[in-house]
């Protein structure tokens, strides 16, 4: 299991291809915060997002913030939510907008594996609940769109040493979640046989 540093947004798709499930990654640059209602607006209501998502790293979040002035916010506590609820947006995020990485907690179900492989995307696992640490790695909230969806707006954060993240699903068809589930199901059969 290798360790990588990746700066987002990426311009070279090879950056994604070198990552393998289980690897450790630390992220620099800019990341985009997004959540359930944000993606419902883009895909179910057909509203174009007012931010460039090509090569982007998306974070499943609804941050706790303090308002400073019109469109200006400072961080209070920023953490990450459960990804599985939003798995159906994976394919269109990659195909229509060129998103290259999605980061959340708890993993994506197996339906994400094929589109991620086809479109050259990865899923990064963050440690859910570790928001105090995550907040220190977010340097600034640079932009916010769709404030009326607060806190499920579209956020642009500048980050430094964001992580450590674990590659949960890679762009080669690998998924830690699938492997762990397969092993656990086998183990359960064994356990049930001796109960």
């Amino acid at each position: 299991m290798a360790t990588h540093e990746v700066t987002f947004p990426i311009t070279d798709p090879a950056e994604i291809l070198k990552l393998r499930a289980g690897d450790e990654v630390v992220v620099q640059g800019h990341i985009i915060g997004i959540r359930d209602r944000t993606q419902v607006r883009i895909f179910d209501q057909g509203v174009e997002p007012p931010m460039d998502l090509s090569g982007a790293f998306l974070l499943h979040t609804a941050p706790g913030v303090r308002k400073l002035g019109p469109g200006r916010y400072e961080k209070v506590c920023i953490g990450t939510t459960t990804s599985a609820r939003m798995v159906r947006f994976t394919e269109p995020l990659g195909a229509q907008y060129g998103v290259r990485a999605i980061c959340g907690k708890g993993g994506f179900p197996d339906e994400a594996i094929e589109p991620m492989q086809r479109l050259g995307m990865v899923y990064f696992a963050i440690v859910g609940g570790a928001a105090a640490l995550e907040t220190t790695q977010i340097e600034e909230i640079e932009e916010v769109a769709w404030e009326e969806l607060m806190p499920e707006c579209l956020w642009k954060f500048r980050v430094k040493d964001f992580g450590p993240l674990t590659v949960g699903i890679d762009a080669h068809g690998g998924s830690l979640y699938r492997d762990v589930q397969e092993r656990a199901r086998k183990k359960l059969e064994e356990i049930y046989a001796r109960l």
């Binding site: 609940g129 674990t166 762990v180």
Partner: protein, 299 residues
């Protein structure tokens, strides 16, 4: 433990709620810190160890930065033990807990999570219709009030499961359902946490008991030796599944299993599972009849 005295009982309960809500979110109890450190001491998987080290670092950073451990301020849940002679009626206690929850949310400020279930519109400052949620126990021959605040995050609450097993499924049916539920939940409820299991009673009461179970200090055992044995066995079996920290694979899937039970109908065998994430936040206060508040993090 710290002590505050006030002569205004409504105000005392409101202050206690406001303080407990924020305190619980920032400063996790010692039993939980110990359990997390012990987990890091035994975990052998690389991603699992990475997760546990990050969790331990996060708990320290929360303390240094005086920030919340987790951004999910949850739904405020309070457990009240009200003495028969406590001078404030539970209707007033509820109103004061609600005021305190709102005050903490505005003053800190905390992220507000409460929405109308159909419109999904935010209803205000972590309060709303029937929110916060308060559980009551009434204690005879006593004039005190104990309040325990358990902010419950949605990641773990979404991993709640109920099955009406039949009597012929027996204890085996209970065990299989718990194992199946936790494996199915995978990394979503932020493992390793506390698995609360409620058995017996009725459908709603089993879930109520499961929720009560997660509010206990980590690793405490049920007074009934049969139930305590079930707790130990389920913990060992769950840690054989290899789900591991954040579902990335590893030795530590749960920190503890707590089971609460009630007697039930001869035709019923209900089993409910309520998960509590690794950030199993809770904080308590005792309020005396004269308005003195004593805070206790680890109760």
């Amino acid at each position: 433990m710290s002590t505050v005295t006030t002569t205004d009982l409504d105000g005392a309960v409101e202050s206690a709620a406001a303080h407990l809500y924020v305190w619980a979110l920032k400063d996790i109890p010692q039993d939980l810190r110990d359990a997390l450190a012990a987990a890091a001491g035994t975990e052998t998987s690389v991603p699992g160890q990475r997760v546990l080290q990050t969790i331990l670092r996060n708990v320290d950073v929360a303390e240094e930065e005086k920030n919340l451990v987790c951004q999910d301020t949850g739904i405020a849940v309070y457990y009240c033990r009200v003495g028969e002679h406590f001078p404030l009626h539970p209707a007033r206690i509820y109103a004061a807990l609600k005021e305190g929850t709102e005050r903490a949310t505005v003053e800190h400020p905390l992220r507000s999570n409460t929405v109308h279930t159909l419109t999904r519109e935010n209803t205000g400052q972590n309060v709303g219709y029937r929110i916060p949620i308060v559980h009551w126990a009434f204690i005879p021959d006593w004039d005190g009030l104990d309040v325990k605040c358990v902010p419950k995050g949605s990641g773990s609450e979404n991993m709640s499961f109920l099955k009406m097993c039949v009597p012929a499924d027996g204890v085996r049916g209970i065990k299989e359902f718990v194992l199946d539920s936790i494996v199915g939940a995978g990394g979503k409820p932020c493992p390793p946490g506390i698995v609360g299991v409620g058995i017996g009673g009725s459908a709603d009461y089993a879930m109520h008991l499961a929720k009560e179970a997660i509010a206990r200090p980590v690793g405490t055992r049920n007074e009934d030796p049969l139930v305590a044995q079930l707790e130990r066995e389920l913990k060992d079996l769950l840690n054989e599944t290899g789900i591991g920290p954040m579902g990335l694979g590893g030795d530590v899937t749960v920190l503890s299993v707590h089971v609460e039970h009630a007697d039930t109908h001869m035709t019923l065998n209900p089993v409910a599972v309520n998960y509590q994430c690794w950030a199993a936040r809770r904080a308590s206060a005792h309020i005396s009849a004269d308005g003195t508040i004593e805070y206790e993090r680890d109760a």
